[in-house]
Amino acid sequence: MDGTGMRTPPAIVGLGIVSAAGIGADETLEAIRANQPRLRDVPEYAEGPYMTSRVGALPEGAWERLGCEGSSRVYAAADAAVRQAIAQAAPQLKDIPADRIGLVLSTTKAEVAALDAFVAGTPASENASRHILASEVAADLMASNHFGGPVQCVSVACISGLLAIQQGARLILSSDVDAVVVVGVDVLSHFVVAGFSTLMSLDPNGCRPFDKDRHGLSLGEGAAAMVLCRADLASAPLATVAGWGSSNDANHLTGPSRDGSGLALALQRALRMAGWSPEQIEYVNAHGTGTAYNDRMEALALETVFGEHAPPVSTCKGILGHTLGAAGVIESVICVLAARSGIMPGTPGFAVPDDEAAPRIVQNAQCGVSFSRILKMNSGFGGTNGAIVLEVEAREE
């Protein structure tokens, strides 16, 4: 690899997902197809320092289904996603030695609820306390799956998930591993909901990404996992990670650059690595948080990269909320699941385009659509921008 065109892009051979849409691929695809918000009012956030109780929480009863009762929710969600992904990838993992399988975890806050318990002097379970540290979550995931390869924990705000996918691909390309499980996870907590409330960045009625009258984001929670492996070991690849890029706006700690130039850099870097021209991209899954500045910045970045020939764009935030450090993995998993099912995701909450910058938004999910070359992008606090390009393999009939 010399910065343009990866010779053997790593293959994605297993997927797992847990979110407000449900547990597993089927429930997730059902929500994407229905194109309805899965945000709901959670009583825990009805009183206190919160702007809204409307969040993309896991469906009622989901934590019980995951077997999480009073222990680490971060671990329970991540473990469920990892198990799904490994089950799908099993035929391709069976001959790979354990010490050649690694793990990359992305999370912004790990089990921060246990830190809240520490401050309040209330009890927390032993594993919840340890899982204040992301490295302990990753170590437990490695141990429970008997992997022995390298482990990394990535935390770069809302681009963490995309950087984790990049890191997983790097581990394979550098021959440090033959396969790697990339898992992104973040869960709702007093810390996170109160934090975004202090910034006044939440829309009490639910986010409306790219809509002219958008008023802020909705928070969500969940986990997703993807198993990456060496292309020559992938007998049934679902997709390949063809390129990636990241950048910084170098402009403001919490607000995106006004002109989208920083994000455009990340997109151009990802396309360059893949050796693709912008015209080859068939679908863009945007960050699309629903804040005024983010969505406009993304529209301008897309205009810079694609000019007048913009591909269709949508975002998962209107359905799931913003899952922070998990978002990059969750949304990438959805891209692969949806493309393989012939569904181009829609953008619930979007109705009227912004006057100043309007990408080609897919409002309603479209079924029976064939597309394979996808650009996924996220941006975050600290002025960070990330992008990956995926090439999805057609599903065998």
């Binding site: 401050v119 540290l133 935390s155 934090g195 890029g245």
Partner: protein
């Protein structure tokens, strides 16, 4: 063919002192601005080390302050670099305890000005804003595993042509309540190193100082940093 990577300069801050690869090591003077507690770097003021202004310093959390000071100690004049070079300069940070000190502060004050620093990568953003850097981003909250270090990560970005230069840091923000929280989390004394180390890596033979070294695989930031600083004495 891989691009060659050179360690251009190094710096560090520890409770015992500070230093860099161009002027060697110095002990804290023990006067105003030095750490009040020998285990505490929180007491260091920007003006005690540098003449240049840093208007944002006062509003930053400890992790960002320490990271910015370590980068300033490198002595690299980023303002004199071309726009292209800064656009292709990235940051790779290792911080296993991350924003824990600030997380605890936020849980006590629930204020927006604290919340914006409750991400370990905030320091990466502060560095990029101050020096107008737009290259690849990375922040790892786990130590090296499988022999691959954060220095390897930074070097790889240059090797593969993703960046022309990289800042590479190992940085932790120690506070009494963070240590207590870690002891609570791990049910044992926390094993973390609280020193701060920074390296500036560039592509090819920079030829700017006689102390430059090429980068080997599997080297920890601390070892590379101290090695380069020792050579500067």
């Amino acid at each position: 063919m891989k691009n060659e990577v050179v360690l251009h300069s190094a710096s560090y801050l520890t409770p015992e002192g500070f230093g860099n690869s161009s002027s060697g090591s110095r002990q804290w003077p023990g006067e105003d601005g030095a750490p009040a507690d020998p285990m505490d770097l929180a007491g260091i003021s920007w003006s005690s080390l540098f003449d240049s202004p840093c208007p944002r310093f006062g509003r930053m959390d400890l992790l960002s302050r320490l990271g910015l000071m370590a980068v300033e100690l490198l002595g690299v004049d980023f303002a004199a670099r071309s726009d292209d070079e800064r656009r292709e300069t990235g940051v790779a940070l290792l911080t296993p305890t991350g924003s824990l000190s600030t997380d605890l502060a936020f849980l006590r004050d629930i204020s927006p000005s604290t919340f914006v620093y409750t991400l370990p990568s905030s320091v990466v953003g502060e560095m990029c804003i101050r020096h107008r850097l737009q290259g690849p981003q990375l922040c790892l909250t786990s130590g090296s595993s499988g022999g691959r270090t954060i220095l390897d990560e930074a070097a790889e970005r240059i090797h593969l042509g993703e960046a022309r230069a990289m800042l590479c840091l190992a940085c932790e923000a120690r506070s009494a309540d963070a240590v207590e929280a870690l002891d609570f989390a791990l049910a044992k004394p926390s094993p973390f190193c609280w020193d701060v180390y920074a390296l500036y890596l560039v592509q090819g033979a920079g030829g700017e100082t006689p102390k430059e070294k090429t980068v080997g695989a599997g080297v920890e930031v601390r070892a590379a940093c101290l090695d380069l600083c020792k050579a500067g004495e």
